[in-house]
Amino acid sequence: MKVTAPLSDIRIRKPETISAPAAVTPANTQGEANKVAGEFRQPVSPEVSEVRRFLIGRGNSAIADRAFGGVMLACAASIFGIVLLIAVELVKQSQLSWHKFGLPFFYKFNVDPDTKVPLFWDPVNGSFFALPFIYGTLITSLVALLIAVPLAIGVAIFLTEMCPRFLRGPLSFFTELLAAIPSVVYGLWAFFVLVPLLRLHINPILMQIFNNPATVKLFGWTGLVGEDGLFGGVNLGLGLLAAGVILSIMILPIIASLTREVMTAVPHSQREAVLALGATRWEMIRVAVLRNARIGIVGSIILGLGRALGETMAVAMVIGNTAQISRSLLSTGHSMASVIANEFSEATSDLHRSALIEIGLALFVVTILVNGLARLLVWAVTRGTPARVA
């Protein structure tokens, strides 16, 4: 229904008198009548104030706005640029090695004809194969996960469901702190404290358990015990086990805090529903929280894995720096990251350097895939709220 409004006949209610404001008259300069269409009349003295003239003179800011938006977009797009840059440079520098060795770089190796010992990384003869480093990376990361994941989930459960309120703040602060400590500082501690601790106290016990004749007789068939087993060989303290342990310490805060985040994201209504059915607290945690959060927990574990795969300095300081593959965790070795750190600045030839960069390229691709997968999983659970990780 279209309504036309008659202007006559407006009855205005009597206002309560309030003191009229003592107005400071605006600096009016020229008058300028505002023409109005139709039947609307203007009161007698239409003036345009200085302020209004100033603002009208400002014009529209479309150009400035568009330019500003463009600059901001360029800054944001620099993220893509960085990824592209890294990829391009890595591919460029690893061309030499790629053309020489091809894909077998990652899985083949030569064998010394006389001693039958596998030759992986031979700067002297210019032959490079990356298998030992892949092995070192995988084993140390596996050890780290085996140690860190159960502990981290336990800590997360404690912090989310059982922790007294006054402890929550300090503990979470501590966790954030630990995640931010530089790798070289962890490496320093690991080199001077952890390694001697392993060499003098822990490894002997492990060797005793795994290598004594009784165990060998019972479990020799697994291949994991005895001189050629998991804890055979020489005990230097340095080696795969040391690297695995320091890695576990480093990834623990990340897994714990992310697990905590996904557990907290489970709505209270879920918890209450299960409790209302008479469940104990542990049952409530198992059924309501862990089950709902399990995708996110898997995501945070994978994120921890991603961190472990790429950790450089701490590993380089305790892994012993040899290019070999051995079943024993006590043996020395190298990870993909640590060999680059160790050998790059003194690389003996362009081919050597190129081979190292090719390993770096592999590391780049792998960590992108792993981290991408992990982020997707964590996002799925926390529903798009950006997960913040130190």
Partner: protein, 287 residues
Amino acid sequence: MRSNKMHDRMRTVADGAATGLAVLATILVVAPLIAVFVYLIYKGASSLNVDFFTKIPKPVGESGGGMANSIVGSAVLLSIASVLGIPLGIGGGIYLAEFGRGTRLANAIRFTADVLNGVPSIVMGIAAYSLVVVPMKHFSAFAGGVALAIMMVPTVTRTTEEMLLMVPNSIREAALGLGVPNWRSVLSITLKTASPGVITGCMLAFARVAGETAPLLFTALGNQFWSVNMNREIAALPLQIYIYALSPYDDQHRLAWAGALVLIVLIVLAVSLVRYVASRGILKGAS
């Protein structure tokens, strides 16, 4: 009846066991980590003296000396990294929060930034090596700064975005309703309101990058002497800690511990500041 009672008792036992395990896990984790922390502080503090901050390393074998050149070198590297990385990061954060909110492009950028944060820093070092060191044919502080800047951009982008998203929309509307151009509103109102958070986010990125060693191994390379030349190798604190840790001399070990403490203090300050600003909230005193 009896099996029910047993079942219930088992459930209670399971509950108790689970609680015990969780507590045990926490103690197993927290106690050693606190011990590590305390040990680091103790070793560092006992090795720290005034000389540390004022002298350069003595020739090998002599005692005394400090890591002053490493501290200065780190400062130079971090300045280069900040000048290159922080503006890009803040601009990126502004785009994500103010222009691209909800768009697929913004989601892709955010995701990429998060993934980039997980790439090992040594890879950034290789990229900077290829990009800067190879064409220049020598190592340089500039190359190190570039490597560190690459690391700062994704972090600063994300923290800036988070802080800007905390500014309530009503304030943006107030500015737009006054006829303030969008660019002016974003910079002078929204960014200014969020500035405590944005600044502390930059500080956190700064502190993180200050402790990075791997990207410097073959870009900045390290330097035994005073140098602020951007065109030459330069010392850096974490790099020097690494070198000293692996050297055979006790004196250099002492310096390494002291340097580690300096890094830890920096981290503690940054993390504490971030938490303090976050707890106070973005709007000072607003309803």
